[in-house]
């Protein structure tokens, strides 16, 4: 097992465990209240219109919008951690066969691990911080993964030609 494989496989497994633990915590603690709040706020907004309480209906709709966004972000974190860490594990199995020298492979592996951690981290930060910082972290993660994977794909194409 080369150094780059060690990075990809150990980080891939650790991030898989983190993603699954987050999913378990979410299912146990947060999912049911979030879904309940989302459904009740949307239903309340229309019930309040039925009762002629337009101002209250708008407030309930805002609560629905915020809760729905929170729900999307929470599912996003779990889903992306799971899929991206699977990719790390998968690449780690045969990363030693990539045409580049090990020094380059080490940088590539680190970049992919950074991206896998940063993309869902951006979504987590969005739940607590407003503004550009969380979006920038997520974008940086996405660019790192896409950039890293493009180089990996190019490397394997070069390997095939050789």
């Amino acid at each position: 097992m080369t150094g780059s494989q060690k990075i990809l496989l150990s980080a891939g497994l650790a991030l898989t465990i983190l993603g699954m633990t987050y999913g378990l915590w979410y299912a146990l603690v947060d999912e049911h209240p979030t879904l309940e709040r989302m459904g009740v706020s949307l239903a309340s907004s229309f019930a309040e219109v039925a009762n002629g309480e337009m101002e209250q209906a708008r407030k309930s709709l805002n609560t629905y919008g915020e809760t729905r966004l929170e729900y999307i972000r929470e599912v996003h974190v779990h889903g992306h951690l799971a899929a991206l860490s699977t990719l790390l594990l998968l690449l780690g199995l045969f990363f030693n066969q990539l045409v580049f020298p090990e020094r380059v492979r080490l940088h590539l592996a680190s970049l992919l691990v950074f991206g896998t951690a940063a993309l869902p981290l951006g979504s987590v930060l969005e739940m607590f911080i407003s503004g550009l910082l969380p979006k920038a972290v997520a974008l940086l993660g996405a660019v790192a993964i896409i950039g890293g994977l493009s180089v990996v794909a190019a490397g394997f194409l070069l390997s095939a030609r050789k």
């Binding site: 150990s10 209240p33 699977t86 996405a142």
Partner: protein
Amino acid sequence: MLPHAPAPGSANFLSAADPARLFVIGGMLLVIAGMIFGDLYAIFILHPNVADIGREMGAAVTAAAAGDADSVFIHFGAVGGFLENAGTKKDAHVHIIHAGFLAFLLAFLQPWVALERRRKLQLAKAFLWASVILPVSIFLIHYVGLVYSPLQSIGWASIFADLSGLVLILVLAVELVGIWRHMRGNGERVGAVRGLDSKNSRTLLAAGLLLVLVGFLFGLYYAGVHLEEHKSRELIILGELLEQVSVQATDAINQGLIAYGGLQGERAVMIATHAHIVEMGLLVIMMAIVQPFVFLSLAWRRRLLWMMLGGATLLPVAIYSELWFGLLAGGVADFAGLMVILAMFGMLIGVWRQTGKMDAKEEQGA
């Protein structure tokens, strides 16, 4: 022409006593089961469910316009039930496939997991049992509900789903410990993944990497262009619906409901496209790794390869085309899913034959 004999160093991989055999076959069976379930879900549940949700949503809005607040809650309660029905089935589909992916990956990690063989076999069995119980429990959440539950909001099916998720996490944690032990000098030195130098493996690897990359770019496009717009459009449509309900503007209410349904469909199609391109890409790369262990003639391996690639490419394209061609594209997506299922099943038979060949050799040797 049949594949070469196992390379030195990994000759024991997939042997009868190797936990990797359980992981490979179990993982492929889980993915196949998850895909069959996904196809059935798309054909029999997804579209009727969307119609049910639209009908109840319309009834709720009509009740609000008539000033009947109680009926509003009843109809939204029904919407919640339909959403739970569809959501748990989608989650079962996703979790069974992902558990299959992990089982498959663990198979090829086994030579680098420095633990006793007996312990590794126990871990493999625990992982596969939990991988079956998890999606089955998720599927049952909608039907079991809170019957005899000791908790206020979580039913027995959810409890079993959470427990099986915990087992999966614990198994992965022990496997990680095994890999760390290997990094410190224990266990086998040679990995199980053989050179991806056959034409089949190279083709699948290139196509898989390309699919994953396209899937990521599509995700970036969706996040950059549509995510915020969808979020704000949904609130605008619902806000206008509230206004129209308050003045009982029937035509405008109907148009608002159509716009709301259209937006939900658009969002679901885009997210499904992104998820399926990436999933198909990961699956195709996994099939590149398994090629040297598919004990079938070259002609059959080529047929299965093209069937897999055709299905894996067509599936997300057809899902995205649902934006314009609706159910027709949905039918093509189901057909593409079937192509991938058949290709995987064929490759699984090849792996099965490989293990049979190894067993026969072992028996001859004994």
